[in-house]
Amino acid sequence: MSAVEELLLEIKKMNKNFGPIAALKDVDLAIRRGQIHGLIGENGSGKSTITSIAAGMQEATSGEMRFKGKPWKPASMVEAQAGGISMILQEANTIPNCSVAENLFAGQENHFSTLGFVNSKKMNRAADEILQKFNLTHMRGKDSVNAYGFEDRKLIELARAVTDETEILVVDETTTALSFEGREILYRLMDKLAAENKAVIFISHDLDEILLHCSILTVLRDGEIRGVITKEEMKQPDSIHKIRQLMVGRDIGDKFYRSDCDGSHGDEVVLEYKNVSNANIKNFSLQLHAGEIIGIGGLSGCGMHEIGRMAFGLEHLDHGHVLCRGREILNTAKAVQAGIGYISKNRDQEALILEGAISTNIVMPSLPDLKKAAFIPPARERRLADEQIRLLAIKCENGGQWVSTLSGGNKQKVSFAKWIAKGSDIIIMDCPTRGVDIGVKQAMYQLIYDMKKEGKAILMISEEMAELIGMADRLIIMKDFQIAKEFSRSGTLTEGDIIEYMI
């Protein structure tokens, strides 16, 4: 059936070099009408590089592109979008402090202006129409984008990217930023575009999502195409295993999450929420034991991230206490002293000093422990950092390398290393594997499991149900700022069982 479908975008022998590093090596790719074409590969495998070249963000070093039968070489994203290739990015891309309408029509204000004055009423009306079209009826064109959360802003970008001219929509790891409802909107849009005989290029780390929505899948590794998998092959029972092997380049085995179903843990309560309330959450209570992994899941906006922040002294509490071995947690400094570590969901903004050395980041919480009579011997610092770099296999030249130069997975390892170096025995992880590729993910799960075995208590907050089921001793599902359901560890729990309690 594929032969009859018209070729929409053809990439031939594309190469892209960044200095001495080759990001793409002789890549050939064909996108046909009606396809939802998945691209999958580890971080740095070249997925985003291909699509960003096709969408005009950067130029290829060599190679040829043909779009709708004609040579294609867009000079900018605006030109590419006008020509028919639009892209939605992983990072936030809306303009803050502007209205939704101004964001939607950025660069097209002259359609709404007379004699240089923009008719904002007209623009807002047009914006409302577009929002209506995408079923985003909860947003209004005249509102400021600041009034909306990260997820809604992502949807605004979506509405901006897809116009009547769009022939190919590139979705670059957008779904990690979206909750369940947001994803549904995106999936529906993708299916609609495919049905209209247009095409979608879908980049994601989430294999289940890829298998569910893509009609064809291309696997990349180290800038080369390692395999193309058709819909029929995707339906095979061992397809996930095969795709992972293609991505990582070696057999990573079936052991992904922990394999045991033993939900036992120590008796000591190390962290306790006692009738905690803030503006949203009312009377929340929970006990975390030594050697226990508690998973907290739910839709975005269910309050699960706030639960994690509360235990680290980051939220103002109206009532109740968070106690760590009987001591009340009032601020982050106290929380760290009490042995709590917090791995933030907003890694680049909150967890890491990007413009700083790996070693600086790793030793930051441990500095008070390292000092000898007020002075911190540099050798001690270096030793601690090097030890962690080795232990977690952080890929870098040395500890002096800046964190901003690392890939997402290695950045997250640095974020983990901070608290392992500190010796914290209660770790709160907010989306610990967000934007991390499979190889690193597997290492992280092993690490988390080892931490449990050492008697550390872990609070794992995640939007990925699979990893919660795979890792948690106790799984708590939250809905509307309350605990909706609690599951104990079992081998038979499936995502289907959980989802009904989330919505």
């Binding site: 903004q349 000093i353 901070k418």
Partner: protein, 319 residues
Amino acid sequence: MKKLIQNDRLRAHSGSLLSYGGLALCLIVFSILSKGRLFSAYNVGILIQAACVYAILAMGAIFIYSMGYMDISVGAQVGVYCILCILITNATGSLLLGFATILALALICGLINGYVSVMLGLPSIVTSIFLNSIFGGVQMLLMEWVDTNSVGIQYDMSFLKSITAMVTAIAVIAVIAVCLYNYTQLGKYTRAIGANEKAAQLSGVSVTKWKVLAYIFFGICIAVAALFLTARTGSAGKGTGTGYAMDIMVALLLGGMPLSGGMRSRISSSLIGSFTYVILSNGLTLSGVDTSHVYVIKALVFLAVILITCRKREGVLPR
């Protein structure tokens, strides 16, 4: 050349190399232009006297600039401290008492600068503008009150005026500042706060506490600098201290200090920068440049230095 720049170690230190180079260049250019007079024994004395106050202030200020903050109240503070030190010393006959008073005042101002801005949620530049106005006003009132154009010190401060004393002071404060900056929590945390305040906080750093401590160290430096300024000039008036805030900022920038603070900050910037700045001003005068042209030339040098050292590096690998 291209290969040289690709060398990572070299690139990591390019900022400090450039600022050392700037100092060296200043030395060479002005020793030629002034026909060697730059290094005459007399002029070296002048240079050290002038650099002493700048260097001490800059070594305190660098802790503030590392956090990405600014302080513009230095000048007015120095002015008031000089006047107060002279008045109290003259009245009591004890220099120690005079110095103790201004040290105490400087510590209180450090607290205000650090703590109030955190408590009220104001950017610290706002509190420093406030302090600048207050001190400017106090300086005026003090001078109105004594009803002269300038007050002179009656105590013999010549022991502080000697080159040895000044070099010792710079050296002692430099050793303290370098140790604090490179080997203690204070220095490490100020840089971390400048690089990412939120991440520092989430690593268990009590941002408020260290911020206040940084301002307190700065306060001590201001008091010491005021003491040496008093010793050097022997008198103080309405204009004492004017322009120091801006001079310190320029000196730090000349020393390769990024205004945004963070991990690129180096303590060496304060020393190199203040000497470069002093040699630049002194050298221009010695070379016979008209005073009216000095400012324009300084501005051009400043612009050139900023363009070379502070521009963002390009060509970063995308993910």
